[in-house]
């Protein structure tokens, strides 16, 4: 455990920037994750907030080349060495849990080497949570999975507490975390682990009527990692690469097979897949809710579909 004077936070950030790549929520026109530059440590620039778009793209770029090929031979990736630098991420507890959930699937056997490279170089720093209006993580089952944690013991305390992820520290922090005033006062439906019944026809019908399949929810979700592999060839017909592109289960193309048949044609069934994936399927496979309660999907949805409300309605 170390104490860090709140007034020295800027200096602390600057010292990190000089040695590593630091990614943190920064207030620009909106709050967004940004690779910090020299001077970004200045007071008020780095904010303890949760941007609408998560830091997912630093681990899973929207489009990411796999291997390259030239004249009928596979070449080593041309991205080599690019990600060798350590990257320090300042993220909320929910977002760090999001990374953990993505680890469960992408580092599961067989390991995804492209993800692993970026993940190995990442240091996750948990920042004090400000509980924005959209959040709902209280009983979703978040766990400690940070490398380092910055704790704000209270507004009148002049220090932050820095906690490296040791068992002892974890235990102490857990107590502080629960006794502090971070718990939201909003009345939110419970989404504790429970089994969803197969029959919830009316709920999915309602979902299908509300949703217009824009896929904003899956784009902003920190734990939506589904992707499509595709090929690219240069006009010379000799070189190109294979790449993956993030995909969305909320679009009909997601389940379209050769010949044109779409397995999940109606929006209700796609909503069912999304909510089952977040609260049922992933837990069956990996023991955690895939949803980390950040509430980004609810904020991004143009027709105000609330994933927690829908989950609360399910039998």
């Amino acid at each position: 455990m170390h104490l860090l004077k709140k007034g020295d936070f800027g200096k602390f950030v600057e010292s990190l920037i000089s040695r590593h790549e630091v990614i943190a929520p920064v207030k620009t026109d909106i709050v967004r994750f940004k690779v910090l530059e020299k001077g970004d440590g200045a007071e008020g620039k780095v904010v303890f907030d949760s941007p609408l778009y998560s830091a997912k793209e630093f681990f899973l770029p929207i489009k990411e080349p796999f291997y390259y090929f030239k004249k009928g031979k596979i070449c080593e990736s041309m991205e080599d060495g690019k990600n060798a630098r350590k990257r320090i991420f300042f993220m909320n507890r929910c977002d760090i849990n999001g990374v953990h959930r993505n680890d469960l699937i992408l580092l599961d056997d067989p390991v995804d080497p492209y993800y692993r490279e970026k993940r190995d170089n990442a240091i996750l720093v948990e920042i004090p949570c400000v509980q924005s209006k959209r959040c709902s993580c209280v009983d979703i089952g978040l766990i400690d999975c940070y490398d380092l944690r910055i704790i704000d013991p209270g507004q009148d305390n002049p220090n932050y507490v820095l906690d490296a992820a040791t068992e002892k520290g974890r235990h102490m922090i857990k107590e502080m975390y629960l006794s502090a005033s971070y718990l939201p006062k909003q009345d939110i439906p419970s989404h504790q682990a429970r089994n969803i019944a197969a029959e919830n026809k009316e709920v999915w019908e309602d979902y299908g009527k509300d949703c217009f399949s824009c896929s904003a929810c899956t784009a902003v979700c920190p734990t939506c990692t589904c992707f499509t592999i595709d090929g690219f060839m240069k006009l010379n017909g000799e070189e190109g690469h294979l790449y993956r592109e993030l995909a969305s289960c909320q679009l009909p193309e997601f389940t379209k097979v050769a010949g044109g048949f779409v397995f999940r044609k109606d929006r209700g069934s796609r909503g069912k897949q999304r909510i089952h994936c977040k609260f049922q399927y992933f837990r069956e496979k990996y023991g955690h809710n895939r949803c980390v309660g950040c509430g980004r999907c609810n904020e991004a949805c143009p027709v105000s579909i609330n994933i927690f409300e829908y989950f609360g309605r399910l039998k």
Partner: protein, 269 residues
């Protein structure tokens, strides 16, 4: 330096096309110089540079090669049809669980296939033929749309000698006198046949065919837990990561594509 070593599950290996056998106007079987151990019912991800990847099931059972029966329906399959003997393709795999042949030892086996769904069943048949004394009576029910859509015609004579082979076509074009066999659905053949209710069933075909065939089988006393069906899904990665083929919490590519019917019937979108 990251190398494109075999540790990277996304990197395919290069294989030669040994032979191309035309099946129908849009389907051909490619014999690939690919010696990886596999089970019937598994599949390979075929990767063609600049075009993409697609899952192709294994239509053979051999240590020396892999037969891939490919219908020209998408980008990759179209490009594959442009390749000839001696050309190369890239592939990674095999993926999926395959048919649990050891669970069917000493049983009578019924194989039900429709259209290109007959391809993995050809692999199962070759496995059975290689281990003939491990299995009981074999009954085959294959259905195709038209007589000219029939696949693996060259195998019919041999299968007819060794097994109980039943073929049918959905329709015959007006004036086509070449087809003298059954016309109608596969289910009609199953209904007429004498079937041991303790048989194991391997089924692959269009969802509608499997649904109705299942009813016929139940009527014959076949138990759900003795039926193995293959699911068709869009698959992209083949290793349980990309999410496209997730169905009822299972990845069809990794936990399937073969599922026992008593479990599969609860897996719905």
């Amino acid at each position: 330096m990251r190398s494109a070593a075999s540790a990277n599950p996304y990197v395919p290996e290069r294989h030669k096309i040994l032979k191309v056998t035309g099946e129908t106007h849009d389907t051909a079987t490619f014999r690939i110089d690919l010696k990886k151990k596999h089970m019937p019912g598994q599949f390979f991800e075929v990767s063609l540079f600049g075009i993409g990847e697609c899952p192709i099931s294994i239509a053979s059972y051999s240590e020396k090669y892999v037969d891939m029966c490919v219908r020209d329906v998408g980008n990759v399959t179209k490009a594959m049809h442009g390749r000839k003997k001696g050309n190369y393709i890239w592939a990674r795999g095999p993926y999926g669980n395959g048919y649990p042949m050891d669970e069917m030892y000493s049983k009578d086996i019924i194989l039900i296939g429709g259209g290109t769904g007959t391809a993995p069943l050809r692999g199962a048949l070759q496995y059975i033929d290689r281990h003939r004394n491990l299995f009981g009576k074999i009954i085959i029910f294959f259905g195709f749309r038209f007589p000219h859509d029939m696949l693996f015609k060259r195998d019919f004579r041999e299968w007819g000698k060794k097994f109980n082979l039943n073929l049918t076509v959905d329709k015959v074009e007006d004036g086509d006198k070449s087809w003298k066999g059954n016309v109608g659905l596969v289910t009609a053949l199953i209904d007429k046949a004498r079937i041991n209710p303790d048989s194991a069933v391997i089924m692959c075909g269009p969802p509608m065919m499997m649904k109705f065939a299942m009813q016929s089988l139940s009527n014959k006393g076949i138990k759900d837990e003795n039926v193995y069906i293959s699911f068709e899904r869009l698959m992209s990665c083949g290793i349980g990561k990309c999410g496209h083929c997730e169905l009822g919490g299972k990845y069809v590519c990794k936990h399937g594509p073969v599922f026992r019917y008593d479990k599969a019937k609860n897996m719905v979108d």
